[in-house]
Symmetry: C2
Subunit: 177 residues, 2 copies
Amino acid sequence: MSNEPSPPPAERGGRDPSDLLQAVDDKARALARRLLAETRFGALAVLEPGTGHPLASRTAVAPDVDGAPLMLMSGLAAHTAALAADPRCSLLLGEPGSGDPLAYPRVTVVGVARRLERDTEAAGIARERYLALHPKAALYADFGDFAFWRLDVLRASLNAGFGRAYALRPEDVLLGG
Amino acid sequence: MSNEPSPPPAERGGRDPSDLLQAVDDKARALARRLLAETRFGALAVLEPGTGHPLASRTAVAPDVDGAPLMLMSGLAAHTAALAADPRCSLLLGEPGSGDPLAYPRVTVVGVARRLERDTEAAGIARERYLALHPKAALYADFGDFAFWRLDVLRASLNAGFGRAYALRPEDVLLGG
């Protein structure tokens, strides 16, 4: 992957932001799906209870069967209390390497987090998939104050590098539709 | 830096989240200041105009003279429109290496973003400091739709690794008070 950004467009003044969106094609879909499938952690944005202030924190993730992000969260963490009060959130996935951090692809998955109730089939599948990627989490995954959550995807924003932005629907980023 | 998480406490059930906060000491302050001083990019959480949905996106950063994060943002970017409508935001700084992503230190700087008006002294200093860290941004930093923004710090949350969380005041993370 190149770490050189594409040169920005020579003329930009006065344009509408939607002009910068690219038409969604199979290459964009494949890149977004790869980011969801391969990324082990991300930045979760939630709303602080009471104030509504947006808060970002690191969270480990694993892909559910359809690619939607799964998270294992402690009931003692601030973001967990936030999601219990308002489940709206987004998750930035895709880490840069060396060089210009804005030249590397990343996707923001926008949606609603849903707690998977213990001893359900969904929680069992989540546990298996998450621990396959994060084996050390077996140390605490079954503690009473931890639970698996799934980010139900409403839409996603893919940025494939400088000036290459795509607005994606759930069926563009999830598998099997 | 070790990539092994500390073992979680053996007993956690029923505790209050504030029990997990550590007393702020000089080591925690130094770590937070180092993260602000050295990190080149972060995850910015903002509120989507109209809906209030929290959105996370990648942004390149550089430290202002006192360590507060400086960002160079296009007026065409969704997060810029969001900050113009509601300047409340937070910025997650500190990237993990290999191994457990939750074992690496990171800080969430919580505050309010402020656009630095062009041709002011503050904007000039921001430009110099930002381009020193991101020289390729000279290609577009002076375009009419770009501007420097500063994150005025209200507070910060430091996570120094599994279970080691600190609530920091601005004077704990900024230089020179």
